[in-house]
Subunit: 425 residues, 3 copies
């Protein structure tokens, strides 16, 4: 392990530089626009969409990164490995997407490439959530390379071949990322952790750090669902529908969380995740004329189903399917992604051909995710990637230098003292 991670990371970066040297160019129009001094369509679009790109950028790095810091001893890895994966993923995604859409031609970089590059990393970060704490940084680099390759292939089939609608990527990013991650988690299942792990829990402030991620994801989701929509009417609707769908899912998430918890208390896990389900579920038909109240219905349902998923489905999947989903990505991305795909089919019901294509798109996304995830999982299972031992799971100190004193291992230090003070504890 000593040298594997650094050498692989360096090797991958060198490979990216070579690939960029071979294929990536500046967008021509930019310069031409510049020379004839008239602010042309592209330059215009670039600066006009740049704020939406930055919103998406914040979701990828702060949103996903901090959302996963809820674990008491895994914050460095959550936010740190998230950054590392995403930085690799956006380079590899730029190449993979550019080559497949341009059929091997030179890739001109525009704002949409940058947005789509960030998108491709989102799928990997979702899968990361499913295996969080049970894998090594090296395994995550390998997963990023494989997952983005499959992701781009599926996206090409769904968007270019089926011409399916999925502006907010409920199917191609969220459902795909979730089922890919679950497949990997299934292959990497650790029977030794069947009864849980001392570190697989939060502390008070780690839950607050996670809320930073939740809020930035929540606020900028309208940008995520509208960033690559057609300008004008469709982009406008994508923003409005997502804004109201998210608001609705917050209310139903709070209601259900209180309803399913004993003594009606709210559960941070639900609040951190289910409140975002409305953004995922409205993704596919965000730019369609579903009306704000339609978006709110989708959001309300997704919030309810997401909380129920956390409460009843996740434990079931762990026990019966032997799939341990650390962050519950199935409830935040998987189920709401399915709802999104189905909502798209329903909304387009009066157009049979499109409806059928939406169905194919949903099926292909899930199928490619599961198959890709299983294969990737088998590769990651090879015992050469420095995966942590069962007892080292969910612990930064395996891969990070951690401060001599932690504020959060109250549990351990305290226990020593308690035991020294009152042996029976």
């Amino acid at each position: 392990m000593r040298f594997k991670f650094p050498l692989v990371a360096l090797g991958l970066e060198i490979a990216m530089i070579v690939l960029f040297g071979l294929f990536v160019r500046y967008e021509e129009d930019q310069s031409s626009q510049h020379f004839n001094a008239s602010k042309g369509a592209n330059v215009d679009k670039f600066i006009e969409l740049y704020p939406l790109f930055q919103d998406v950028h914040v979701m990828i790095f702060v949103g996903f990164g901090f959302l996963m810091t809820f674990l008491k001893k895994y914050g460095f890895s959550s936010v740190g490995i998230n950054l590392c994966i995403a930085a690799l993923g956006l380079q590899w995604g730029t190449i993979a997407q550019g080559l497949i859409h341009g059929h091997g031609q030179a890739i001109p970089i525009g704002i949409k490439n940058m947005i789509n590059a960030d998108f491709s990393t989102a799928a990997v970060l979702i899968s990361f959530g499913a295996v969080l704490g049970k894998t090594s940084p090296l395994q995550m680099l390998i997963m990023a390379i494989f997952e983005i390759a499959v992701f781009v292939g599926n996206e090409y089939v769904v968007v270019d071949l089926f011409r399916a609608s999925d502006v907010g990527a409920s199917m191609t990013i969220h459902a795909f990322g979730a089922y890919f991650g679950l497949a990997v988690a299934g292959v990497l299942y650790r029977s030794g952790l069947r009864e849980g792990h001392d570190n697989d829990e939060s502390v008070y402030h780690s839950d607050l750090f996670a809320m930073i991620g939740t809020l930035f994801l929540w606020m900028f989701w309208p940008s995520f669902n509208s960033a690559i929509a057609d300008p004008g009417e469709k982009q406008y609707r994508a923003i409005v529908n997502t804004y109201f769908s998210l608001a609705a899912s917050v209310l139903t998430s709070y209601a259900l969380s209180s309803l399913v918890e004993h003594r009606g208390k709210l559960d941070m896990v639900h609040i951190q995740n289910a409140t975002l389900a409305g953004g995922v579920a409205v993704g596919t038909c965000a730019d369609m004329e579903i009306d704000p109240y339609g978006a709110m219905i989708i959001g309300s349902i997704s919030g309810i189903i997401s909380v129920l998923g956390f409460k009843f489905l996740t434990p079931l999947i762990a026990r019966k399917l032997r799939i341990h989903d650390t962050c519950g990505v199935h409830n935040l991305h998987g189920l709401p992604g399915l709802i999104g795909g189905i909502a798209g089919i329903v909304v387009l019901a009066n157009d049979p051909s499109k409806r059928i294509m939406q169905g194919y798109a949903l099926g292909t996304s899930i199928l490619s995710a599961i198959v890709g995830g299983l294969i990737t999982g088998l590769i990651l299972k090879i015992p050469i990637w420095g995966q942590p031992s069962d007892q080292d799971c969910y612990d930064d100190s395996v891969y990070w230098e951690v401060p001599r004193w932690r504020e959060h291992d109250h549990y351990f230090h305290e226990r020593e003292h308690l035991s020294q003070l009152e042996p029976e504890v």
Copy 2:
């Protein structure tokens, strides 16, 4: 309590969906603009203002949410209930504002509706700060419904009838929200907590979390004060004036904090709040030709008065008026809001009719806030909303599942113990 909160939350969301189905439509121009492919005024405005909307959005959810996490055991509620209130408020605000301004017609959703919907929640979140830790989530949902109704009524009188200027809403949001909250806090006063409460204090990291809120409020305040300003000259001035007013209030806040504290130390309460007073106080005349130095004078004065309010007025109000203001919203929103209203009157001094209207606007805002707050307070006082007992105040564990262990600093305390237990360490 067991089922009240979830059922009320679900009921309110269903009501919102019905109201949206009845009244809310897409903005027509969007599509027309789209069809004749020319980038028309509305589409243009929508995307042009969208970044300002997102800045306001961040202030509402991250700004207000984290600003209130300073309490050592109330972070989940501060950021979590803030999200829940705001998500309800922006739906209800869209309806209430749309109906009153459109006189019951269908409501076309544009970027300004979304900005104004966020604004209407701001008033509630300010009031939330006054009663923070002493109310239940259910009480806050009820307060949001009533307060926004009164808020929209006052806003209509001030803006549509009096035609008063209040671009940054010093009067209609900040003064209104503060005095509404203080009125509610007065009705809900707890004599049992006259001597204070163990939980009504911060810890080191909770104060740092609060600074996340302070900084995002501070940075994006120019967007808040300019988001609904007339494009061009006025919007430009609103941004520039707010930018410099905020900078000035930072310097005077630091100076006064050090001046009033014993041994010249800085107090986090002042830094977290008074530094924002400049944004509140310049709100009413942000788009007027007051010149940057005029804005800085307003900012400087508001920073000074805000710190003095925290130091001398808040304890006085608690003792004499029996109003306990948890976050000191009177010093951050109340007094600076008054300064803003008065500044507007002064700036428009040479236009008697407008000046008078500004005076009416300020008076109406405060009066409606106090009356509305008293009535709402009486409704919240009915012992059916699951309000916490005195000793359960400022404690998340009443309404939230909290982690078994909370973190704490080992470096200082733990080592002592280790040494006491094992001297050789």
Copy 3:
């Protein structure tokens, strides 16, 4: 000390108001544009660049502020003094830059003035990082006044006289700020802390707070490097090049961090800082036609050199040159700034005259920084600014009221133990 800080802060704010009253005006075009109702170039530019300004704003206040919260007992000062310095700096920077560029004429405030004002504070905040924990708030206000004066002079020479390219300010902000700070740190060197200080270390959550700063700096760096670039082609390239340079420096930073640490572990200090080196190093030639792969090469090299600097150079500088660099600004801003300056010379190699000017620019920036820093350091060494004693270094409690208990549960759990250990407690 009791009254010095508040009186100096108030005095400086009054001085700023007077200077603004004398020199600062609104940008005329804004109003004219407004009157003839046609959306003119300036209004257009203002709102178009406003989102980029806000990104820079976030970098200054949240980015720099939280990046420095890694110290376990210095978070209040890091984020709080950062805010105070920057609020003063942007006012003073507006005046200083306006007067020198306008040759004493009235200063019309446009979006570029606001961006440049924020930029001028960045240099001071970088220097702040070098002396973090070893100076008083008062010393930092004094340093801000002097450093910005020198900064503006150097910027004028580099940009207006030499007409050198430095769109992302690798030389004028990053190298300048770093070497200025190192010069100050050298003059203020404390032999008493040669062996280090108990407080000069992080705790688990302070490192997570610092990552908030790292990520917002990382995400918005493309805005920093493009905010004042020529619209169109150059601005587009500045964004694209910075985006990919940053991504590359992340991979190489992780690789090197793992490579140089014992047992291949990652070091948070490297991750928090070296991942940003790509943004600094690509600054000078961000808007040039270096192609994305060129930007990635620059980013990769800077990430490697930055980590090596932390590991080997910083201890050496502390020992041999007696310069203690608290945040390692030499590795994040100094060395990458040099790389940026040299990269600019290399890229412009085929234009001898420009190349020479780039060389002069780099030399002047470093020379003026060192000379200015030494003089400022000597002024700050005068024992009238309330500098902390050696043992009080890196401790908020010298200048801030800090909570009685650092983390709350400590209060409850710990008290039990204390009572068991020392019953009288």
